[in-house]
């Protein structure tokens, strides 16, 4: 049944020399080749973590002491912690409030609001920061960081929470009401607990983005571990101090993962039955309609209006001079090229693991999945630092080639492909493969005609999200891009760090235009994926 195994023993029937199709028989641990491939990919995805561990180990205690236990690290720790601790709760509150208004109340125009609240994801955080710094030049510090990152990342909570709310069984709320709870009590005691998983997942995503973000904070002179690592990189390439900061940052990420998995416990989203979906009863807002509309309008103006306004303002201020055709086209084509290659490679690499997770769940698969979960939380700067050092010293053949950059993209965005592929493969149960085999199709043919075909839409969805990530990726691209390569993000960054905001505007516009359809896709998908 394995599609990677060639079907051996195709000799004449009855012949004594026929051999067993060793390994081609069904096994619980999954086809050997897929397992081996998945282990290789998982090992590869552990590169950044391994690099940090080895570098920290090699640095020796004295260096660690000197470079980690110093006031600067304390400052960064304070900044980073403050950023996470302030931004994440605000994002959670905004995300849940927005989702509840849109999904559970009779809000006027809630279909449009539903999309508008997800739309800020189409604006890269560093473009948002650029707009806000244009609006308020003195913006900076923790509060500047909190403002811009909240406006950029609250949709990461909003989208999953809205998806769960829209699918939540209204019978639960009705039971709550029948047990004598008022509407607010129903919200806090029945609805909110069910949103816990979605909100915690969103909060984790927000936290990881906060830890990894470089451009948005560098633009407003706010230092976090990631900006400090980049500063060190600019001064020393890959010096010990950069590595030490990276190891502290990685520790941070691991603690976050641990925290999230503790909140989650063993709980999973309740699996929704196939029955017709009941339409939840929506709460009449009455006079609250006005503040509700005002709240969402304000949020949208801040998160969408400000960045769009300033991009357009700089476009107008720059006039025709900023449309430097060849450079713009060059960056656009390279962005598209890398986006497509990265999306393809990431999807291909994610496939074996997704396949194992769905078709052969077991202890090995669980470990592999966990590995992917950990390695994907590594910030771009750490991934890039690891790959640049490893390739320059150990794999000169690929050093400064497109391969390394694409590999970095695969490391960074694997979960996007994985999550979608898993959902897609779940739509293609192995019974269908077997049915095709029983209808005379060889395992490989059956796999291609059934499993691959059925998971293709989900794979394409995942690839689109990887593409979105690559278009807006800055740090890894800055460090790893081959000589002469520019992307929209790096060119935007080159212009805006020279405070040529007008020159940067066309690149900002192109990034937003490329991201918008992918963001819509993400939004649409989340509605379908809820409950899986």
């Amino acid at each position: 049944m394995s599609f990677f195994q060639s079907t051996t023993a195709e000799l004449a029937p009855g012949s004594k020399s026929r051999r067993r199709a060793a390994g081609g028989r069904g096994t619980r641990s999954g086809p050997l080749a897929v397992v081996v491939l998945s282990i290789l990919i998982a090992a590869f995805s552990l590169l950044p973590l391994g690099y940090v561990v080895v570098m920290t180990g090699n640095a020796g205690w004295d260096t660690i002491q000197k470079l980690v236990f110093r006031p600067r690290v304390g400052e960064l720790l304070f900044n980073t912690l403050a950023l996470v601790l302030i931004t994440v709760p605000i994002c959670v509150v905004l995300g849940i409030a927005g989702a509840w208004l849109v999904e559970r109340t009779r809000l006027r125009g809630n279909k449009a609001w539903a999309v508008l609240l997800a739309a800020p994801l189409a604006i890269p955080a560093f473009v948002n920061s650029y707009a806000w710094v244009s609006a308020i030049p003195s913006l900076g510090g923790v509060w500047g960081g909190v403002l811009v990152s909240t406006l950029s990342y609250f949709p990461l909570v909003y989208i999953p929470v809205a998806a769960v709310l829209s699918r939540m069984d209204p019978a639960l709320e009705q039971s709550g009401a029948s047990l004598g709870l008022g509407p607010w009590q129903v919200f806090f005691r029945v609805v909110l607990p069910q949103l816990r998983l979605a909100a915690a997942g969103g909060a984790l995503l927000v936290s990881l983005h906060l830890l990894a973000e470089y451009g948005a904070f560098a633009m407003m002179q706010f230092d976090t571990f990631t900006t400090a690592i980049y500063d060190q990189f600019r001064s020393t390439f890959n010096g010990a101090a950069a590595n030490m900061l990276a190891s502290v940052l990685v520790l941070f990420c691991l603690l976050l993962l641990l925290g999230e998995s503790k909140t989650r416990g063993n709980a999973r989203y309740a699996r929704l039955g196939g029955g017709a979906q009941a339409n939840p009863k929506r709460l009449a807002l009455g006079w609250y309609q006005v503040p509700g509309q005002l709240f969402l309008a304000a949020l949208s103006v801040l998160a969408l209006g400000v960045p769009l306004f300033h991009v357009v303002r700089w476009l107008i201020a720059g006039g025709a001079a900023i449309w430097t055709g060849s450079a713009l086209v060059h960056a656009l084509l390279q962005t598209l090229g890398y986006g497509l290659a990265g999306a393809l490679m990431t999807t291909v690499l994610a496939f074996p693991l997704a396949y194992l997770v769905i078709r052969h769940p077991g202890p090995v698969t669980k470990v592999l999945e966990g590995v992917n979960y950990i390695s994907s939380s590594m910030p771009g700067i750490v991934v890039a630092l690891a790959l640049v050092t490893i390739t320059v010293h150990n794999v000169p053949a690929v050093y400064q080639t497109a391969v390394v950059l694409v590999a970095a993209y695969a490391l960074l965005f694997m979960p996007r492909a994985l999550v979608n592929l898993r959902a897609g493969l779940a739509q293609a149960p192995k019974e269908l493969d077997e049915a095709a085999q029983a209808l005379g199709k060889a395992p490989l043919v059956a796999f291609v005609k059934v499993t691959l075909r059925l998971s293709a839409p989900a794979a394409a969805g995942g690839a689109a999200l990887v593409f979105l990530g690559i278009v807006n990726e800055l740090t890894a691209t800055l460090l790893l891009a081959p000589n002469g390569t520019t992307t929209l993000a790096t060119e935007f960054w080159a212009f805006s760090s020279e405070i040529d905001y007008a020159g940067a505007a066309p690149y900002a516009l192109l990034m937003i235009l490329l991201s918008a359809p992918m963001t819509y896709l993400l939004f649409a998908q989340s509605k379908k994926a809820a409950g899986q």
């Binding site: 079907t7 023993a9 069904g26 019974e431 077997e434 085999q437 209808l439 199709k441 060889a442 059956a446």
Partner: protein, 384 residues
């Protein structure tokens, strides 16, 4: 049932993987000594099964008994750890042989039909056909009619069909390649009661018309008994009994099989010669395995409420089901013949039994009834 054998003659058929040698083939499918473990748990513990050409066998057992695993071994989705499987006289799995699923000429219908959701009904049926175009379209219409569906359904999507229709399409799809053997894995279990009976009848009729050797796996004993020529009872990785539906129902080989295949009244009894003495009196037993203390098994329908019967019982309570009522009856202890010496192991009787009766009014709690037993009982050796 006389199977009409319509073998490859008309439309071009799938490439036959094996040319059966009709000269010596009597048993179409032969499984011997099949064993299979998953992760240290032995699921099949040595299974032997033969199925004759054109006949229908039901493998019935509780969930986890290994029946689906056996079916998957036969289909070629899994390989046995030991034992051999031969199909039409050719070994397809064994120490020296392995033929993959797609070369076994086996049709397979899964529990939920496993229709390809991205293909129309017609495309699903065509999937395994080696021909395309007009010939295929004609064959699709023919197959849909064979499963009592209008050919116009070919254009529909699987999601537009009811569960019963999906199962019939799955059958048509599996029949398209004219398989030598049809495997049905709980194909009716997902259907609701009314649809289940109708679909089962259509499928059964279609298969017997086509003369295809069939194996049905089910956990539903009524389905097994009504569908098959031969019933194989699977328990704990082994086949506990194989025989005709009548035989396995009326003469189960052990108590567990008896209870699995239908409601059973089990009484303590004392075997003397060919009579089992119990609370219902002396019941004739054919070929009793032992003498002395035994369990006696009767089917509830063998116990009738009559006027003037010799056995007395008092109604404890009843469960009303409309067309019939389950009546719980407290029996009197076994009458002891004062003239005979009493064996200390002899049972005392006086059990409470469940029987069925059409008249609910007759059986008010506390009512004294007289009973009689028709037919023979089956006894099993005593066990605590």
């Amino acid at each position: 049932m006389t199977p009409t054998i319509r073998r490859a003659a008309k439309a071009p058929t799938a490439k036959p993987a094996f040319i059966p040698d009709p000269g010596h083939v009597t048993d179409h499918l032969l499984v011997s000594g099949a064993r299979k473990s998953f992760g240290g748990t032995e699921v099949l513990k040595g299974v032997d099964l033969t199925v004759a050409q054109g006949r229908t066998t039901a493998i019935v057992g509780a969930s986890g008994s290994g029946k689906t695993t056996l079916l998957r071994l036969i289909a070629g989705f899994e390989a046995a750890d030991a034992g051999t499987i031969s199909l039409a006289g050719v070994e397809v799995a064994g120490p020296a042989a392995w033929v993959p699923a797609h070369k076994r000429s086996v049709g397979y219908v899964a529990q939920d039909g496993a229709l390809f959701p991205h293909l129309s009904v017609g495309q699903n049926i065509e999937f395994g056909l080696p021909v395309r175009g007009r010939a295929a379209a004609a064959r699709v219409g023919e197959l849909l009619e064979m499963v009592s569906m209008d050919p116009s359904y070919a254009r529909r999507r699987p999601s537009q069909l009811s569960g019963g229709q999906q199962q019939r399409v799955a059958l048509a799809r599996a029949l398209a390649r004219r398989p030598q053997l049809m495997l049905l894995d709980e194909p009716f279990s997902a259907l609701d009661a009314g649809l289940r009976v109708a679909t089962r009848r259509t499928v059964s009729q279609t298969l017997s018309d086509a003369g295809v050797t069939t194996i049905l796996v089910t956990h539903d004993q009524a389905e097994a008994l009504s569908f098959a020529d031969q019933v194989a009872v699977m328990r704990d990785g082994k086949l506990a009994q194989i025989g005709s539906p009548f035989v396995v129902y009326t003469r189960p080989s052990d108590r567990a099989t008896a209870e699995f295949l239908g409601d059973a009244v089990i009484l303590e009894a004392w075997m003397e010669g060919s009579l089992a003495l119990c609370s219902l009196g002396g019941i004739p037993v054919r070929r009793p395995p032992v003498q002395g203390r035994v369990h006696l098994m009767l089917r509830p329908e063998q116990i009738r409420i009559t006027e003037g019967g010799s056995i007395r019982g008092r109604v404890v309570d009843t469960d009303y089901f409309g067309p019939e009522t389950t009546v719980r009856i407290q029996l009197a202890p076994i009458a002891v013949d004062p003239g005979k010496p009493v064996d200390p192991h002899q049972p005392v009787g006086g059990e409470v039994i469940n029987i069925r009766h059409w008249n609910a009014m007759l059986a008010r709690p506390g009512t004294e009834l007289s009973l009689k037993v028709v037919g023979e009982g089956v006894v099993f050796p005593w066990s605590e």
